[in-house]
């Protein structure tokens, strides 16, 4: 469980967040530029909060008062940013096994489960958008993440592909039972995906709304 209470002050935006990220899928919505990506990057260890704390269970990842800072490399979070985010020059297998935390058995399981077995040795940059999203998810899951952070995972896809890929990602995340924060600006994702709904408004993360899960 991730507990956080922090502020990120940047020249363009101030993000304030206070809450707990429990198990299940949490959807975070908000307008473009409202601070969703900054929030998710702070949890991932890619942006340094100006003040506050972030904890994972008993481990402190950030405590600015005590000058504690655990870098992204040591947090073991699965992060999927926006856009085409595979390593395009590497094969699908090399993409998935980029982290040293997994085992060959996990890789085989993921390739089968994600329907990527036949593309094992294909360069990831040659795959379609939907397949690339599955590679990115597989790569994140292979690293045995404590939490999955998905920043608009469907944004690079055509609208007709979105529903299918969304269902695939959702099914796999639930199977692997990893707490997940799913950032989107598409309101239709809220009811379809999330167990709960957070809103980001002008940099303030509002937590606590329960979704009707379908």
């Amino acid at each position: 469980m991730i507990t956080f209470s922090f502020t990120v002050a940047r020249p363009t935006i101030i993000v304030k967040a206070d809450g707990v990220l429990p198990s299940g899928i949490t959807v975070l919505t908000g307008q473009s530029g409202s601070g969703k990506s900054t929030f998710i990057k702070s949890i991932a260890g890619l942006v340094k909060p100006s003040t506050g704390i972030i904890r994972y269970d008993e481990t402190t990842w950030v405590d600015r008062d005590r000058k504690v800072w655990v870098p992204a490399q040591e947090r073991q979070v699965g992060y999927m940013p926006q856009g085409n985010i595979v390593f395009p020059h590497m094969s699908v297998e090399k993409n998935i096994t980029y982290s040293n935390r997994g085992t060959p058995k996990i890789c085989d399981e993921l390739l089968v489960r994600l329907g990527l077995e036949k593309y094992r040795h294909t360069k990831a940059g040659r795959l379609s958008g939907g397949e690339q999203q599955r590679v990115a998810l597989g790569r994140a899951l292979y690293s045995k993440p404590t939490v999955l952070l998905l920043d608009e995972p469907l944004s690079a896809l055509d609208w007709n592909l979105r529903k299918q890929v969304r269902q695939e990602l959702m099914d796999i995340i639930r199977e692997w039972d990893v707490p997940c924060l799913w950032v989107t600006h598409d309101e239709s994702d809220v009811a379809a995906v999330g167990d709960r709904h957070w809103i980001c408004e002008a940099g303030i993360i509002r937590t606590g709304c329960i979704c009707k899960h379908t």
Binding site: V77, M80, P81, G83, H89, Y98, R101
Partner: protein, 222 residues
């Protein structure tokens, strides 16, 4: 050694030095967030805009046996003034900014999100640089290398100051052309001009063809 092969040899060794040091500097400059980055960037780029003869004079001040560092090198039989090593150093210093600017831009254009993903997967900065940044910026690195090689091969001003114009030892193609013209041997000079133009043209066209071929491959894939 004749001027053609001497030029090639000097340019190849200079390029190896430029690539090795250049990649280290680019790695450091792209990751460092300090305030003096603009000043360092300007200092590194200086040889590109200064007259080569000024750079040559600065190198002479550093490596001349009459001064501390040059004297120390001379004492250990490592003197570079009026030697092929001097020509290599002059070529490397002059061509370095061209490589640095091209490669740094190429590395900066790599999607930072991809590097961020690698960080969350536990990869060290060095591993990210070698497995993600360099492979994705290869076109820029190749272009920078070819430009640096061409520049090193055509280097004149700094070379003549630090390495002199010694036949077989430091007389590279540009220096040989200068000597031939001075002696009125225009046909010999013309021959070398043709060589240097043809080689440079072939290499620069190579960049264009390679980029085009890579673009077509990407279109085919998509």
């Amino acid at each position: 050694m004749n001027p053609f092969w001497l030029s090639i040899g000097v340019a190849v060794i200079a390029l190896i030095i430029v690539i090795t040091i250049g990649l280290c500097v680019c790695f450091w400059m792209n990751r460092w967030r300090g305030n003096v980055i603009a000043l360092l960037d300007a200092i590194i780029t200086l040889p590109l805009v200064l007259p080569p003869v000024v750079v040559g004079f600065a190198l002479l001040m550093v490596f001349s046996p009459g001064y501390a560092f040059g004297g120390w090198l001379e004492k250990h039989n490592l003197g570079v003034v009026f030697s092929s090593a001097g020509a290599v150093i002059a070529s490397a210093v002059i061509s370095f900014p061209l490589f640095y600017q091209t490669v740094r831009s190429a590395l900066q254009s790599v999607d930072h999100n991809i590097e961020d993903v690698a960080r969350t997967l536990g990869a060290s900065e060095l591993r990210i640089f070698f497995t993600i940044s360099i492979p994705l910026a290869w076109k820029g690195i190749l272009t920078g290398s070819i430009l640096a090689f061409c520049r090193a091969m055509g280097e004149f001003g700094a070379t003549i100051l630090i390495a002199g114009n010694i036949p077989g030892l430091t007389r590279t193609m540009p220096l040989a052309i200068y000597s031939y013209v001075e002696a009125g041997q225009y046909m010999d000079a013309f021959e070398l001009v043709i060589y240097i133009c043809a080689l440079t043209l072939a290499l620069l066209s190579g960049i264009h063809l390679l980029t085009k071929a890579s673009m077509f491959r990407n279109i085919e894939r998509s």
